[in-house]
């Protein structure tokens, strides 16, 4: 009986068909290739993309400026009198060109005003496009662009700021 079994095994090559069936399974499987320029990839939850600064909640404490190992961030606090009513910085410079995406500034921020976005396409034709000031800081456009995968990990304050209160009361 054993001999017949062995002979049958020798004649029909079951191992070969096993291998063929394995590769056939792979033929119909989902492909792992990322077709990047045609289809945007899905980005991991904790991806460290381009830095986004929410200037509305910034309190000009300059902790991010001190934490940054590359010195990309420069924060200019408002004059002392204004600091009592509105702590938003007078000027905020962000040099994305030197940014290491180390997320030390994000960790140091007490109000969560600075955080990583999911934007990963950082190629520019001119270095000046990577220098941002208070007005040009990228925040709102990106939100629309990456709608499907954008998870807001920083809650935006809904209450009106002291400055706005003052303006409203006028």
């Amino acid at each position: 009986m054993e001999a017949i079994k062995n002979f049958f095994k020798m004649v029909t090559f079951p191992e070969l068909f096993k291998g063929l069936s394995v590769t056939a399974k792979y033929l119909f499987q989902r492909k792992v290739t990322e077709e990047y320029p045609d289809f945007k990839p899905s980005i991991p939850y904790r991806y460290k993309g381009k830095l986004h600064v929410q200037i509305e909640t910034c309190i000009s404490c300059r902790l991010c400026e001190k934490a940054c190992p590359e010195g990309c961030i420069k924060v200019f606090p408002p004059p002392k009198e204004q600091m009592k009513i509105d702590k938003r910085p007078a000027e905020f410079y962000l040099n994305q060109e030197h940014c290491l995406h180390c997320s030390l500034c994000v960790e140091s921020c007490p109000t969560g005003s600075i955080h990583h976005s999911y934007e990963f396409e950082l190629v520019v034709t001119n270095f000046k496009e990577l220098l941002f000031n208070k007005e040009t800081l990228p925040y709102n456009q990106i939100k629309k662009q990456y709608k499907w995968n954008y998870i807001e990990n920083v809650p935006i304050k809904t209450e009106t700021t002291p400055l706005e209160k003052k303006e409203n009361s006028k």
Partner: protein, 350 residues
Amino acid sequence: MNTDFLLHYIAFPLIKIAILLAAVFTVVAYIVLVERRLLGFFQSRLGPNRVGPFGLIQPIADGMKLFLKEDVVPLNANPVLFKLAPVFAFFPPFVGFAVLTFALPLIMPSGKMHSFSVADVDLGILLILSISSLGIFGIILAGYSSGSKYPLFGSLRSASQMLAYEVPLTLSVIAVIMMAGSFRLSDIVAAQQTYKLYFVIPGIIAFVVYLISVVAETNRTPFDLPEGESEIIGFHTEYSGMRFAFFFMAEYANVVLICMLTPALFLGGYDIPFVNDLELYKAHPYLVSTLGFISYAAKSTLFAFFYIWIRATFPRYRYDQLLKVGWLVLLPISLFNLFLVAGIKLFLLK
């Protein structure tokens, strides 16, 4: 009479040759693309899909690239033999296509019989076997004339491999010839049509031996020692540009030739499955010829897919295992099979 002679013996064959060559070159160019894409699918990749829709212009891009490359002849090489070797490797598979028959013949309005082959000679299958073994000269010359040791070893490996597998291949084809009673390829298909039985069933052992040895003959993956893409260095190490393309195209032309030959030998060729072709042919000759051609193409395509599937699956043999399988396993099996087939022919096929 003179114009008749010109038409039937010069013009028609030339037109047939032109059509056949164009078709074969296109198929050879595209089977490379199909293989690369299918290998990609087998490995959960996508394969080349950048040039044109689905990568359809990729062969042209590859050809352009190879054509524009620098033509290097090494200093130590023998320049004459070095330039001759690709040509020697290139022409045998293309000769083989001449004796293939693609469909049942048609009777033209002028009364002449019009066969769908360039030259349906009496010894068609023998011609293919003998010419395809000429291809080895190209490989040996390439290794010998390169003036480098690795190509020489590669070509020696190739020579012994081809010798080892030529014998079982021929013996398994002889089994088919015995069953059909003719060397002519159209007769072999006709025999399968009259017996209403594809030779794969009585000659299953011959078919298995044929499959294995044909993969070895065309230097494909389980047996691709002459080339050894990834780790061992092959016979065309010193070749670049268009000369390398000649070897490459010869390899794939061989694959296409085998893919077209196997259905004719074992799977009924241009016979339409589950239909009595010969009776239907009397009523609708044009329909049967067309459908027969389509079925032949379908069988060849399926076999080509199987060929690529094999390449995607099996790892390479070691050199001593390769020769052992050739001489000590396949040769005795195919010799034994000859007796078996002779018995089948005597008692069963009538």
